[in-house]
Symmetry: C2
Subunit: 487 residues, 2 copies
Amino acid sequence: MSLHARQHAKVHSKQMMVLLLGVILWFFPVPSGLESFITKLPPSELPFDSQMAWHLFAVFITAIMAVILNAMPIFTSSILAVSVLILTGTLSARQAFSGFSEDWILLIIVAFLIASSVIKSGLGKRIAFLIIRRFGKTSLGLSYSVIAADMLIAPAFPSNTARSGVLFPIVNALAADSGSKVADGTRKKLGAYLMMSSMAGLSISSAMWLTAMAANPAGAKMAKEFGVDITYISWATAASVPVLVLYLLLPWVIMKVYPPEVKQTPDAPQIAQKALDTMGPVHRNEWIMAAVFIGMVTLWIASSFYPFINKTAVAFLGLGILMLANIFTINDLTHEGQALATLVWFAILYAISVYLNLFGFMGWIGENAAHMVEGFSWPLAYVVLILSYVLIHYFFVSQTAQMLALFTVFLNVAIQAGVPAELMAFMLLFATNFNAMITPQGSSSNVIYLGSGYIEAGEVYRVGGIITLVNTVIFLTLGTAWILLVS
Amino acid sequence: MSLHARQHAKVHSKQMMVLLLGVILWFFPVPSGLESFITKLPPSELPFDSQMAWHLFAVFITAIMAVILNAMPIFTSSILAVSVLILTGTLSARQAFSGFSEDWILLIIVAFLIASSVIKSGLGKRIAFLIIRRFGKTSLGLSYSVIAADMLIAPAFPSNTARSGVLFPIVNALAADSGSKVADGTRKKLGAYLMMSSMAGLSISSAMWLTAMAANPAGAKMAKEFGVDITYISWATAASVPVLVLYLLLPWVIMKVYPPEVKQTPDAPQIAQKALDTMGPVHRNEWIMAAVFIGMVTLWIASSFYPFINKTAVAFLGLGILMLANIFTINDLTHEGQALATLVWFAILYAISVYLNLFGFMGWIGENAAHMVEGFSWPLAYVVLILSYVLIHYFFVSQTAQMLALFTVFLNVAIQAGVPAELMAFMLLFATNFNAMITPQGSSSNVIYLGSGYIEAGEVYRVGGIITLVNTVIFLTLGTAWILLVS
């Protein structure tokens, strides 16, 4: 048997395994107790029962396992999952496709197209060369500088989707202009490492500031009902030590577990300088691109104060202007099939996650986690609950959705087990952010990086898993000690 | 000034004109009477007023005019329109993006990907060569054979989207294998002509059978309330003569107004025979493709009897199987940006059209059309009403939506003006189909053909306008005489 045929046979046997797993899960008896959580049904939804909730779970887990085992790409796995769910009547077509019209998912797609424009206009190249000239002697240096930029702009971006929409084009240009491209098979030279670093950076920059992620202020408000008063200052103080330690740690950890092929680039700064000289003064397209980009960023920041400024509408407006200026053309659009692929798989997995929650499945899991810690000492209960909360993110396609579904349940259980309320509230809110990389779909910012093709979904399960582990350990040890000290 | 610069200046002046038109329309006083039609508000929608209905109309017309005047592509025009609508508060983001989760719109997108698979598998090439061998001596012969195939399969396809999903890959392969491709600038050699012919064919094949379009049976049911009994046989009888005459006429008309660069290809059958010899026996990928395709078509047909079989889910299932079989790959997907472009502009225009209707704008137009014919003799009233119904399709992005919104209004007015009820009912139902080509977005089947790149949106306004005129004249003269004779 040839190598090619053997690889094929291996993939096929994996696909058979996944199919078998799916069939077994599907016909598995529905766990008792699940039916009592079916309470969140809004009147506009069709009726469902605990059998359907279980089937939804079975299909979701099978789809995720297919990706983890590398049996098929996440796109294939998602479209097969959605067709099974609809044709078996587990979800209606309306429910299954509801994610496609979510404006924040569409924002991810537009962010792709704008990132392409940043590169095409030449502005991406220029910014990338400026960064390389300053920090480009090592891959590690570039990684630190990208995450530092993220940390600094984070307080002004209450949407990590929008923030990754700012960072991604720069990282993308950094990779491409260092000679690491997806199209010619050199993604691992530098690009994959930088993208993974920036994703990891987002998982901690979002935890750093009260306004760095959409769910943070909502969580702070919910904590108030438990007597925990979280301010901008108290949040930043509590987060500061673990986040700074992780900032120093993560680029180095990723260098170990997911190294770039090129680590030392001593000549890069000079090459960048030469390239900048060749580019000459800033061109018309770069000026327009910069103006549109600054305009968009200004409106995105303003949108947190004026909710009528819809972020996706702003992005469409920016893209429209770039198209009128011929910086991005209809012809460029034909090469953006990856954006379509991302829209499809992410919208499908998001809808499944929403209905797992609506069908009561998440409430049931939360309740079981609560039962687990009965009779534990508070430190043990604390650790078990936080670990459970982190691991449950395997099933969630939105950090905000997990926070809304489980924050109160977990906080309540912990307080009853004797965990200090402020500690638990902070740690749950931080975990909502630092668990972002546990799956490719765990955060909408991941999705933007994956869409570039530099990183494969299977790699996120491995490297993202390690980063989530590091995040969790640092927050549970150093972070816990620090919060107890300052609170 | 260079030619290039002059072209740019021309486009820019057109864009300025469109912008000016938009501003004038926006600040135009709201027509009196519009507010009394704001009655269709479902409780889940946000409040709106006649000012918003007018603004929606102003933006929609401006976007359409931008395309007609060739000031910008339909994609650019749509994304600018949607951002203006959201940022001015005319539509909420939820309303404006609601089209993205419509399953039949997603079906169009999946149909694209499956069409690519048909070509890639080699099956498209084989079917195309078989057709060329038999009918390929002239472009006209190919055009007639494509429309004949459409007519014959139409009774089994109550969705013209699904039917164009079957026809499009074959027409696409016919074009590509005759050496007419978008990528190398030879779209006008043959492909554009064949695509336009097939679109025109769909506008009459849908009118031929009670089951050839989704809205037909619904319309027949609504006609019953006016005492008009429409059966499968009476429909086919009434449609037969005008449709057959148009079948003979349309390929010839398109040959005159939108001619292919190559008309005579006397050697084509022999070339096709040689190519078939070179291809040899049917390959593994062609067998799988054929099996998946037949399976999908069977399920699509079955879906009209078993509504739980969702057509889009079937398409996703088929695509998933093709991907597992490596006939369509993730890498192929990256070149399908055109499908994303289509999804975006069509979903946006569809949502605008839905809300023009919900905001009462369509009812207002229908009522005005009714006022127009007061005091007319019945033949004059009949002609004026049918012409209005056809022209109003400029504003509708769904044939079904127009039928549901206006069929009853127009039928009622006509009966009061003395038009025979059966004649009017038939003619409105036929017009719902034969007006399909009046705009690029006038039918979801158009959208599939346009997405190929063989035909440009501006061309549809011109050629589709002529075809709609021919359809209307034949139906109003010969068709009317025939219906009066047989009814």
